[in-house]
Subunit: 336 residues, 2 copies
DNA sequence: TTGAAAGCGCTACCAT
DNA sequence: ATGGTAGCGCTTTCAA
């Protein structure tokens, strides 16, 4: 590999001058600069980022840990992060934590080992204590899609509880009394909070009406939705509406309901969560909850960048985002 | 940040010994080893990967450039790559090239600057010359989803032309004579090859029947499919079948056809490409071409890793994969 | 088994 | 405007 010394030798200058050219620094004559540039070109030279990082004691790229690389949620997050990075001409290091504790931990450690100053973490498996610990040691670390009280000023999160409430209130408004909810297994935070929101909303109404609730758990995917619905059906309990953890599951649910001869929404209504692009291209178009995750990702990235540079960012106590009900065609009104 | 020296001092040993412990090397007494480990723990020490990389003159992680981070294709690729990496306990650096030439170039350069030895590149925008140049300078660089003759032993690719042929043959077998194809704009390779395959298959049959072909271009997304179909309809030419560049587009096409009052497949048939998970959860279930991209990604990763270590891998002249027709419900038979 | 010290490629300070 | 050079954190001989 070509090094700065090779360039210096070939150009008949000192490494210092080459370094100045690399960094577009001042104090180099135009002629020298041109010559050096030309030689770098000829020799196909790329500065060694690793050396730059240890020498300058910083790594201006941004490190990201996503829970996975396949869900629409991750895709939208990645897009938001990229937007900011591209705009500021900063490189991103994506790492994924495959939903389990060990690999999430490893993914974060890798970021630390690379000495990223700015980090955006989407952790679905690690416990609060671990995350608080990491956050306290790394000022540029920001959590996305998760709220932890002790470090709330470093959290960019969705009010999942409110999301659950929106789902429950709407489905009850439409007259449903027998409701199934499909939660995500292995997801530490969001699922439980939404469920809490749902139950809370139901409890509030139970004064005038009796609402029956069935709860099952499944993998947060299309496949998981299919399986969950089979289980629900096998249980033999009546339900007229299904609330799912995300749109992927909802699509699986609808598909499997159809396969069993049920019509959606005539026989059974479905509400998803996320408002991903697929939501409106299936039949029936999915009623769901909008999750402004790209917006959140943008904010998280800007925050991480700002904190890592100790710049005076308009810091807020915390960064809460609000879910929103999107009414389409997958819910039937039961009362007139 | 804690360094190796801090640990050495705290443990009352030399940095050399600490280094040995970090790398699980031999030549350290058990007692010393334990002591050092304990102190590393206490001080929350993580070795600086950048320093390791310049000192050891290697970077054993694998660098990846994906064309984007949002398409199902990329998601499946990422999964394949991750499988290999996880298995071998190697870290991955994902970078994305947002479909345009400049940022793809930049993404690759970033990988070079980090001195990754193993690289998997999915380039959709860069020209062959540039890629050949990179490949020749970097023995561990492998191209995925693209075939370039000059460096075919470093290419893991799908036979797109055959894919096109499969689509065309099937749709003609079903009796269609007025066919629209929606190509992807801005994609250098695959789209043109598939189209070639389609035209080739049609030419072969034109001896006994006349086939009409309309061709339009659009963005390779759900949205692009919607727009393309509107354009097709506006052109006023008759067509009974639409062949799309990918499943996302096909879903957009179906959705928009329905919006215009056409039934699929009764009025118009649709064939997608990719066989992504969504393909079978829409109505009607999508007839499409299977693209074994995850398998390809696994192969590409193994190849890159092997080449970067100059290990004796069972190298092949080239790595060609074969697309396959998946018949579902989105095509109507026009002859009895 | 342990330590001293010479690099790795680069930056930044101090001279010139 | 330029060059010399001391580090940055780590690995790896070579000696002890």
């Amino acid at each position: 590999m070509t090094t700065i010394k090779d360039i210096a030798k070939a150009a008949g200058v000192s490494p210092a001058s080459v370094s100045r050219v690399i960094n577009n620094g001042p104090k180099v004559g135009q002629k020298t600069r041109d010559k050096i540039k030309q030689i770098m070109d000829e020799l196909g030279y790329y500065p060694n980022t690793n050396a730059q990082a240890i020498s300058a004691k910083k790594n201006i790229s941004i490190g990201v840990v996503l829970a996975d690389l396949i869900s629409p949620l991750s895709a939208e997050m990645a897009q938001g992060i990229e937007k900011v990075a591209t705009e500021k001409d900063i490189q991103i290091f994506f790492n994924s934590g495959a939903f389990d504790k060990t690999s999430e931990l490893k993914a974060i450690e890798t970021l630390l080992e690379h000495r990223y100053q700015a980090m955006v973490i989407h952790s679905k498996a690690l416990d609060e204590k671990t995350l608080i610990n990491f956050a306290n040691k790394n000022p540029g670390l920001v959590l996305i899609n998760r709220y932890i009280k002790e470090i709330e000023d470093r959290c960019v999160w969705l009010d999942d509880k409110l999301g659950g409430t929106l789902m429950a209130d709407y489905i009850m408004d439409e007259g449903h009394e027998n409701i199934a909810i499909i939660d995500a297994e292995g997801v530490i935070n969001n699922s439980a909070l939404r469920c809490e929101g749902i139950k809370h909303a139901i409890a509030k109404r139970n004064t005038d009406r009796t609402i029956n609730l069935i709860e099952v758990f499944a993998n947060a995917s299309y496949k998981g939705g299919e399986i969950a619905v089979q289980n629900l059906l096998a249980m033999g309990q009546k339900f007229t509406a299904v609330l799912t953890y995300n749109d992927d599951m909802a699509i699986g649910v609808i598909s499997m309901l159809k396969a069993h001869g049920y019509r959606v929404p005539e026989d059974i209504s479905v509400i998803g969560f996320g408002n991903f692009i697929l939501a409106k291209c299936i039949t029936p178009k999915l009623t769901t909850i909008n999750n402004p995750i790209e917006e959140m990702a943008i904010k998280a990235t800007e925050l991480a960048l700002a904190l890592s540079q100790q710049s005076k960012f308009e810091t807020q106590p915390t960064y809460r985002y609000v879910p929103e009900l999107i009414v389409r065609k997958s819910v039937k009104q039961l009362i007139s």
